[in-house]
Structures are given as C-alpha cells and as structure tokens.
C-alpha cells in the first residue's frame, strides 16, 4: 500500500447557487493529520461534504486529485473505493438494515466477487473494534443508527472508520455532542489508525479533541478559504485567545461565508 495524497487546488463549491467555498487550497499526505478549525458558518462542513460528493453541493471550479486521480469525476462509491472516508456530523438512520449487515456489505464492496470476508473473520474483527471503542456488542444487531444517541452515532462512525481502513479520513465535527469520556474513546480509535499509509483531516471548532489527537498541521477557515496555517501551537493559541486576533490581523470583520475581506 502506498502513502495517500489528497490535493485540493482553488476549490469553489456552491449550494443552491450560493458560493460557500471560495478558492481553497490544501494538500494532505499519508502519515499526516491535519485539523481545520474555524467558527461556525465558515464553510468547514461544506468542504468535507463536497469532497465526499454530497448530492446537494456543487463544485463550480477547481481541482481535487486523490492519489493522482481526479476525485471530482468519481461517483460517491468510487471515492470510497479509492480510499476516502467521511465520518459525518449527522449520519443517516437506515431502518431494517443491521449495523453488522451494513458493515459487511461495505467491506465486501471493496473486495472482488468470490473473495468476500468470511463471516467468522468479520465477527472477530467487529468484536475487537467494538471492544476498543467500548461499544456494547448489541449495537451490531441494531438497525443502522436508528434510535442511536448523538454520541452513539459518533462512535459508530469511528467503528466504520476502523473496520473499513480507508487511506484518508475526514472527520467532520466528530467531537460535537461528545462528553469527555466518549471523546477519549474516539481519539483512541483515530490514534490506533495512525500510520504512514493513513492521512486524516479533522474538522472541528474546538481545540479539545486536539488535546488527544495531536495534529501535524492546523488550518483556520474563514469566509470559505483557509486564511491561516500553522503547527499544533496554532490550535493552542486559538483555544487561549479565540479567533479575534486572526480577524484583526487579516482585517476580517465578519468571518462567515458571504462576506468579503
């Protein structure tokens, strides 16, 4: 397995004709964990949804390559097959499909016909990972996300991440609605994945998750662009001082999308 590379160049994304991402550049390599921080309404979640191919978001210009291939030309399932994963802020509930059946379908989707994962091996892996995330085994047999609490849904996203072993994962506000214990469990899951063949983009507006997952690079997003990048120390400064100093430094009055600098 080779180290992944995600390269975003001058990306512009609209929803219902309103431009949200306004020329964004970012490159993530295997072994790197990036964090995108920023206040609400600055386009962070739009970026993650657009990269995965969400039907409501339209990429109007720019280029995204994943391991050298044009990501924007791929269907949603092809992006996943290529090794991209999005842990969603609001995962869908699907009635009538058990968590376990869903996961097995997803794993087998990546494998050749005739080379499906054996049931025993699947159950072994699933049990191991659920233990790691301190999830009750009963969740395997419940319908996909149906009636799960916010925290249970987040854990379930990380369970999928660990089972599917993507090359590059985007975690969209995985920390929102999590108490500190759950946060630690989720961080443990992500840290377990950390290796040179795995890249990760964490989207958050709190520093606290980054206390448990140390990022290599931190970016600040405002007005649909990355306005500042740095190392882990940037996140710490944001935690201590908030975003106002950046706005001041860059002469931004309103950081949300729709305002120009």
């Amino acid at each position: 397995m080779s180290a992944p590379n995600l390269k975003i160049e001058d990306l512009r994304v609209s929803i219902e004709d309103k431009e949200i991402i306004k020329g964004l550049d970012l490159e993530i390599n295997g072994g790197e964990i990036h964090a995108i921080m920023g206040p609400n309404g600055t386009g962070k979640s739009t970026l993650s949804a657009a990269l995965m191919g969400h039907p409501k978001y339209e990429v109007t210009s720019g280029k995204v390559t994943f391991n050298g291939e044009d990501l924007l030309e791929m269907e949603v399932d092809e992006r996943a097959q290529a090794g991209l994963f999005l842990a969603m802020q609001y995962p869908s509930e699907v009635s009538g499909i058990t968590n376990a059946d869903f996961l097995r379908s997803a794993i087998n989707a990546k494998r050749e016909e005739g080379d499906e994962i054996s049931l025993m091996k699947f159950i072994r892996e699933l049990d191991k990972k659920m233990d790691h995330l301190e999830m009750d085994n009963a969740f395997a047999h419940r319908y996909l996300n149906e009636g799960f609490s916010g925290g249970e849904k987040k854990r379930n996203e990380i369970l999928q991440l660990m089972m599917l072993e993507p090359k590059l994962a985007i975690l969209d506000e995985i920390d929102s609605g999590l108490d500190i214990d759950a946060l630690k469990v989720v961080a443990k899951g992500v840290n377990e994945m950390r290796n040179p063949d795995f890249g990760c983009l964490i989207i958050t507006h709190y520093q606290r998750l980054l206390n448990y997952i140390t990022p290599d690079k931190v970016h600040v997003m405002m007005q649909g662009r990355i306005v500042k990048s740095g190392g882990p120390e940037l996140a710490q400064r944001l935690e201590a001082e908030g975003y106002d100093w950046i706005k001041e430094e860059l002469g931004i009055k309103d950081e949300t999308v729709g305002q120009e600098a």
Binding site: M52, G53, H54, P55, E75, V76, D77, R79, A80, Q81, F85, L86, M88, P91, S92, V94, S95, G96, I97, D101, F102, S105, A106, A109, K110, Y143, L144, Q160, L164
Partner: protein
Amino acid sequence: MSVDTSLRFDKDYVTGFSSSRQEPAWLQELRLQALELAQELPMPKPDKTKIDKWNFTEFKHEATGTPVAFNELPEDVKALIGSEEEAKNVLVIHNGTPVYFALEESVKDQGVIYTDLLTAAKEHEDLVKKYFMKAVTVDENRLPALHAALFVNGAFLYVPKNVELSAPIQAVYYQDDEAAIFNHVIVVAEDNSSVTYVENYLSTNDSTDSVANIVSEVFAGSGAKVVYGAVDNLAKGMTTYVNRRGRAEKDARIEWALGQFNDGNTVSDNTTHLIGDGSFTDTKTVTIGRGDQKQNFVAQIFNHGKHSEGYILTHGVMKDNASSIFNGITKIEHGATKSHGEQTERVLMLSEKARGDANPILLIDEDDVTAGHAASVGRIDPLQMFYLMSRGISKAEAERLIIHGFLAPVVSQMPLESVKNRLVEVIERKVR
C-alpha cells in the same frame, strides 16, 4: 361498460361438479345458493380502484394434479418446505389436487385435524359445516359468493382446546395450469390452543387470462393464539381476489404476516374482528408493485370487545407503472371501551410513473379509547443513499439495502425460516 351479470357456470354445472366429488348434500346446497347470489350480488367496490373491467368471471375452472412422492415435487415447492425430514407437517395442493401430505403422529395424537378441505368436508362434516363461509359470508358481494359456488379445494386445520403446537403447519398451493385457483382455507384454534400456519401461493401462468379467488377464515377461540403467515406469488396471468379474515374471541390473539407479491392485478382484503374482550390482532403486510400492475389492499380491524387491541403495519414498494392503493381501516365499535387501534402505512416510490396511495382511516364510535395512525409516501432518501455509498456501496446495492430494510418489519415476522428465505428471494427478484 355494463357489468355482465351472466356467468358461464350454471346450476347444472355446479351440481355436476359437486356430485362428481361426492360432496355432502349441505355443501352442494350451499354452492347452489351461492351461485344464485353470485348472479344477483354486485361486485365489491374497493376504495379508489376501479375493478369493473377486471375479469373475475371468465376462466377455466378445473385442472388436475397427480399425487407424487416427495422427490417428485417441483423444485420451487421443495425450496419452500425444505427436506423430507424437515417437511413434517405439510400439505401441497397442485392444480387443486392434494398431491403431497405429511403430518406428524405426535400432532395427530393431540387431536389436531389437518387435511385438504374436500376430505375434511367428508370426514369431519360437522366441523366444516360449522365454519365454512362463516367468517366470510356468501352474501357479502359477488366474489365470495362465486368462491363458495366454485371453490375447488383448500386446507382445513383444527386445533382442539388447550393444544399448543410448536411446529408450524405449512401449505403450498401450486398451479402450473392456466385454470383458476379457487382455494379455501379454514383455521380453527379452540380455546387456549396455539398454532402457526404458513401458506404459499405459486403459479406459473404469465399470459392466459385467469382468476384466483381465495378465501381464508381464521377462528381463534378464547385465549387461543393463531400466527398466520402467507407469501402470495401468483404470476401475471392471474387476476386475484384474496380475502383473509379472522375472528378473535375473548383474550384471543391473531397475528398476520402477509407477503403479497402477485404479479397480476390484485384486490386483497385482510379483516380481523376483535369480538371478545381483551382480544388482540397485529396485521403486517408487505408488497411490491411492478410493471403495469394495479392493486388494492385493505387491512381492516373491527374492535368489538372491550380492551381489544389492533395494530396494522403496511409497507409497499412501487416501481415501473404500478399503481397501488393501501387502505387501512380501524373501526372501533360502540361499547368497545378501553380498546386501542393503531396503524401505519408507508409507501416507497421507485419510479416517477408509479402510483401509491396510503389512506389511514379511523372510525371511532366509542369515547373511551385510544387510536393513532401514520402514513407516508416518499422516495428513497438521497441522504441515505449518500451515506451508504460513502462507504463504498454501489448505487444498486445501496438501493437494494434500503428496500430490504424498508420491508424488514414484515419479513422478520415470517414464522418459517425457509419461507422467510423465499420471501427475501422474491423481493430480490421483484426489485431488480
């Protein structure tokens, strides 16, 4: 178009048919009365579906099957009943003729009667007379009358007082002739008994215009429990009228799990009368409409008894140009205090041209009751698709998962594993 009230089948025909089968006199008489009524009575009028041009009266009446050993049963039938060792309590009727039968000694020893209806009418005349056309009556409309006049065979299952059968009783009605299916099922569970009955309807006639006119009557005595599972899988050539009705006495319980997967036009009525205080019914139905098929489904519960409870759950998937009407009716009668009725109808539309109507109807003539309903008609949620596909699952597979999930509430209730598997296969084939 004027409704043609003349029937191809006259008094002489029915007399001859009944005599040739050596039926008891009361049955022949009932047939002749029913024939007269069939000429006078109007067709049923299913709400929102026009059936006046549907053919329910022109068909070839009789066909024959030949009794066979287990090994000679068609593969489709074997898939439903399992191996010879597994198929312990099974009746197979082929083209109206009982062709295979098995019943465990231990079941017989408890006084359980299970046999084809014609045999029952001769050997257990009083019992059949007591129940035949008593839940569904000959004077309701033309189709039950026609059914009584011309029914060919069916099953009779009788469970005596206090007998609790754990093994399911199974029936397969298999038709590979263009003749009509006139099948009648009676399930009687006496006081405090318990039984599970599962039936499959199969036919192969895709092209010739034919008719299925099916009636099932379920009688649950005080404290009795009946689980009734059915998978209907009649081919396109059949225009179907199927009426499954139950009567639950005091504290009795009737659970229906109906997979209605006919390919031809279908009128289906599933009604339960909660007669006794504390009686209960739960009716779960799934269906898939495809092609140019038109269907009308009624799921109906009458609460007569106090503290009676009735639940309806209907899930339908509509594709191509198919059109289906789902009428859920909860009728709480005056005096049925503290009773409860609840219903849910959900329709999943897979095509722009398909039509699906869900009509929940609550009719309440008593103050001291609780009732609720929910209905929805919608398409597959694009966000669900996005979510599943974002895990690498293809569009087709994601749709398949969502549809199976949508139908799961009923599929999971099917009492027999082999029949459940068959149901999944049928769904698989129909949504492809």
